[in-house]
Symmetry: D2
Subunit: 335 residues, 4 copies
């Protein structure tokens, strides 16, 4: 961390600042220029509150040099982490496609889709039981019944399942869910993250639609600081000024995250664009850029989907998408 | 709602669409052009899932004409709502300043600040007990003790208090809190909103930093649909590409919200800019633009604030800010 | 176009509006609901000023159904356009890599790079002679001499060249430049676009960093309306809140543009991310998503680049990038 | 500037870097930590190319401490600049309202509006002769005739005039125009800025809709570096995800610019929101926040405006807006 101190500072305040910094265990190197005085803070500065220092009268500016996250940082853990989701391994050179309906609607629906996507090469089943909808008047999901139907599909196909949790009180329902998804809107629901950090369940943490990559890694830190190291990251589009797609898939997040963290990265092209016709090229792009996996919405009858139908593919179209991604995978970028 | 149907559509699918729409209780008017067929849906379309219609093969585009929210809509409730927070009235021509520390640190601190901001004209006290912090290594608030100290300050000064809830299980602690704040990161924590909708406590709902005004009003709908009509809105800055301020205060949100909803609007200039030197001009601008109130962070010793010190004013500076806002208020915009 | 008229409108104003619309040659279909009156405008509405209609007292809202651009619209020109740049063909299933230094620095530099990138498979040479720099104190390019050196490299290698024009008065210098680039900052320099529309030179139009895809196609319209149909589009990153990369590559722009226009699309991963380590995965992603070409910065000595060195690759690294993109190309998405 | 060097750097490269930096006239202070080596560059670093340094193999990160602009920097020119526009003074505590039509349509129109806005207290007349329109099919302005009509209105009322230039070849037509506007789309048209820097005409430089405040000040530098110090800045809304208003007025730009530069700041609420009903509260907010002036569109018949009618007020409404702003002005923020 670098602190720029005003030239006309009060000496007592300056001494107080230096003493306080030393009390936090950081060493101070001083560079004096004509118009400013620069302090270089050396040591572990992840606990130093940058906003607090910036607020001081005598401080002109502060810049962070080190990343403020530790557990997810590749610097301290150079090898890829491999997250085992009931036998399906994410990270370390593997590639998995998670597929399934946005919302679980019935046992037949989800079992049928599970069987079809498995044939196409999907290794995990997704399905929403609790749905975060912008409007209270939209379908909110089947809840506990939805989870039950997912479990039937798991039984029928052997595919591990992932579903979204919206509140910690729902956790008991997720006992047999293999991967618990934290949705974009809850990426900074810190109470939920802390509770999930106390479990040892694998967590799929989706990036918030207006959150930076660094904020995503800070949210991971809430889970990992609790001792749960089983985290998979998911980029699903960010909010920009462009309206041709629902959100803008941040494809660069793949190499940026690969550099900054050892955790696996999954891309959700369905939610990113919100238009089923664009899912295939985005899935192929994500594969080429080196994603560790994809999460794709598949629906057996998009005409009657109760939710988010606009972004769903039929199993037939998914089969083609999967084929094309598997064809690219051997040539994909390796960091 | 207007649905543009492809000219070369399948007739059976088209009939299915029309029958389904009629089953939802909407009437259909048809306009036929050379390159498209436009259906005008008439009636209450707030329950029609726009994404679902967009996903149909035969549909080229859909546009919403009516707002998708009802309870908060000024069209159906032309007069300003007046929200009574333990005697302090928001809306209907009143103007209130809520002031206090970002985090409650001790009883002495919060009582002392409460006494000083009351003298300067503040009519409510704010203070954080549970703090949503980006980093798990930052100070997370005093929790229940923080609420207790706020109640001491309420007792000492008679000022009603507002504090942020982060999870519904914390609700019993908020029994004597007069106004419950839902923070920006929880604006789309729909489970929390639904639970608060079942209470009759006044709620201060902050706009998410990447949420549109329409999404804010949809989140209000979650609370009001449960029967709780006591909602005050708060604009606190949105995320943009500009980095000179922490967020960008969306000053236009004041007249936009005044037109669209009957609920009162409070502006938080402290969080919007993140730099204490800019709080005063932004508070004055918000007052001039017709805000129903302000929420301002005040700290007795910014040098030692445990959290967000960068945006805090001293009571002395706050006194000047309040004076300048009160001076402008008689000349403020009236919608 | 759909016009929503207020229910309590003045009848004379309403008649005036309808007469004016008819005078523009559009037909009007009327749908009357309980709370609004909707006019469907049928016919060619690309000349109807949507802002003007929106401003009328009696109008509540207006929505456009048709795209406001014609010449670039795939609806009226379903086949891919093929743009011939001195023998190198863009569009219609071809794939080209344009490579070269950000700034031309000397004849040796650019000839040497041209020879090397040609060996790696590049089919065109890029190089900046006039440089748009944010700071007037940064290197502004070699100007006419830069163009001269590019022509030497063209002579030496046979590669057609592309360089950026910043003002129309520079046009005579571009006589032997095969493809004229309009940079992101000039995407809405309409005077320049009009002048280029009067030439028949192939134009590479880069998307502005805060311009929508629709605005890009409207800017194309300025060139094509003048009779110049030789336009190649270039996506080079948009401005968002994320700061881990200089801009955010909008990978979805590839399928969106493929659907909306018949013009070829080139991706510039170098400027999009601004960090050379991320160029390779982004180039591979763009190839997989079906881009018609790539434009990549290559420099023989990044340590001494006079400009934008941060995003330049060495010829050795470029060779690897090109190989990996060519390997993916056979499996790339086809719209 | 602070340069973070990798710990495992090549020593020769490190010596090269230090020698090169010294050759640019900057002094180097070194702080060595456990995981990084930090160089503090002291002296005038505005000519040091930060992107170039960032590109070096041995460099991990670079942060700028000093602002990269000089002439506009308040640090080196603490007093407000006062820009004299043919007798009307901007800056130094004055307050001016510029008003007039978006587009000049006829002599009668502009003279009539000029007379009316003068009565309401406007001290300058605005009017567009050359119009930058997104679509080539929209009205492009009257050109030279438009300037002529503005000059007639100037003669009739004595109000100095401002109009937008789109290309340097138009300059002779602006001989009697008192203030030359550079529009948002041309804020980084560096060739135009350089040419205007060679004149001594007052320039109104509008912020680009996706440009940071720092970039605005860098563009000013292009004009001032040429010797023209007569620059007035204009904030007119930035592009964000919010669609309730055309752009988002960045009200914080007023105090930020007041801190960073000595140049006067004018706010254009008309273009910022694009909806005439919101102009009044935004004008009042800008006045309260300490703007040095406002620029407001006024049209005598919004029903027939040829361009941008949606954001125009009638002279009657403008009279009320002006009165309300003048009423607030005595209480406005003073930096």
């Amino acid at each position: 961390m670098v602190v720029v101190v005003k030239k006309d500072h009060d000496e007592t305040q300056f001494e107080n600042l230096k003493n306080w910094l030393k009390s936090l265990g950081v060493k101070i190197h001083t560079s004096e220029g004509e118009s400013s005085l620069v302090l270089g803070l050396v040591g572990d500065t992840s606990a130093v509150d940058i906003d607090l220092i910036r607020s001081l009268d005598i401080v002109e500016d502060v810049k962070r040099i080190q990343e403020p996250y530790k557990n997810a940082n590749r610097k301290f853990h150079p090898q890829d982490s491999i997250i085992d989701v009931n036998g399906v391994k994410f990270g370390g050179g593997t590639f998995n496609i998670i597929a399934g309906p946005c919302s679980v609607e019935s046992e037949e629906q989800v079992v049928s889709i599970a069987e079809q996507v498995k044939k196409s090469g999907a290794t995990m089943l997704r399905g929403g039981a609790f749905k975060p909808r912008t409007s209270p008047y939209s379908f909110q999901g089947l809840g506990a019944n939805g989870i039950e139907y997912l479990l039937k599909a798991k039984e029928a196909t052997g595919l591990p399942i992932v579903s979204e949790i919206m509140e910690f009180s729902q956790l008991p329902l997720f006992d047999d869910v293999d991967l618990i998804q934290v949705g974009a809107r809850n990426m900074q629901n810190f109470e939920l993250l802390k509770e999930l950090g106390r479990t040892r369940k694998p967590i799929l943490l989706k990036r918030g639609l207006a959150n930076t990559i660094q904020e995503l890694l800070m949210s991971v830190e809430y889970i990992m600081a609790g001792g749960n190291e089983n985290v998979i990251l998911c980029e699903r589009g960010i909010r920009t000024f462009e309206t041709a797609t629902r959100n803008t898939l941040d494809i660069s997040a793949i190499p940026v995250l690969k550099k900054q963290t050892h955790l696996p990265i999954v891309i959700d092209p369905s939610h990113a664009c919100g238009i089923s016709a664009y899912v295939k090229p985005l899935a192929m792009a994500a594969t080429a850029a080196g994603a560790d996996g994809l999460m794709i919405e598949v629906h057996n009858d998009p005409q009657h989907a109760l939710c988010d139908g606009a972004q769903s593919l039929t199993p037939q179209v998914f089969d083609d998408v999967a084929k094309c991604c598997f064809a690219i995978r051997p040539y994909a970028y390796k960091a």
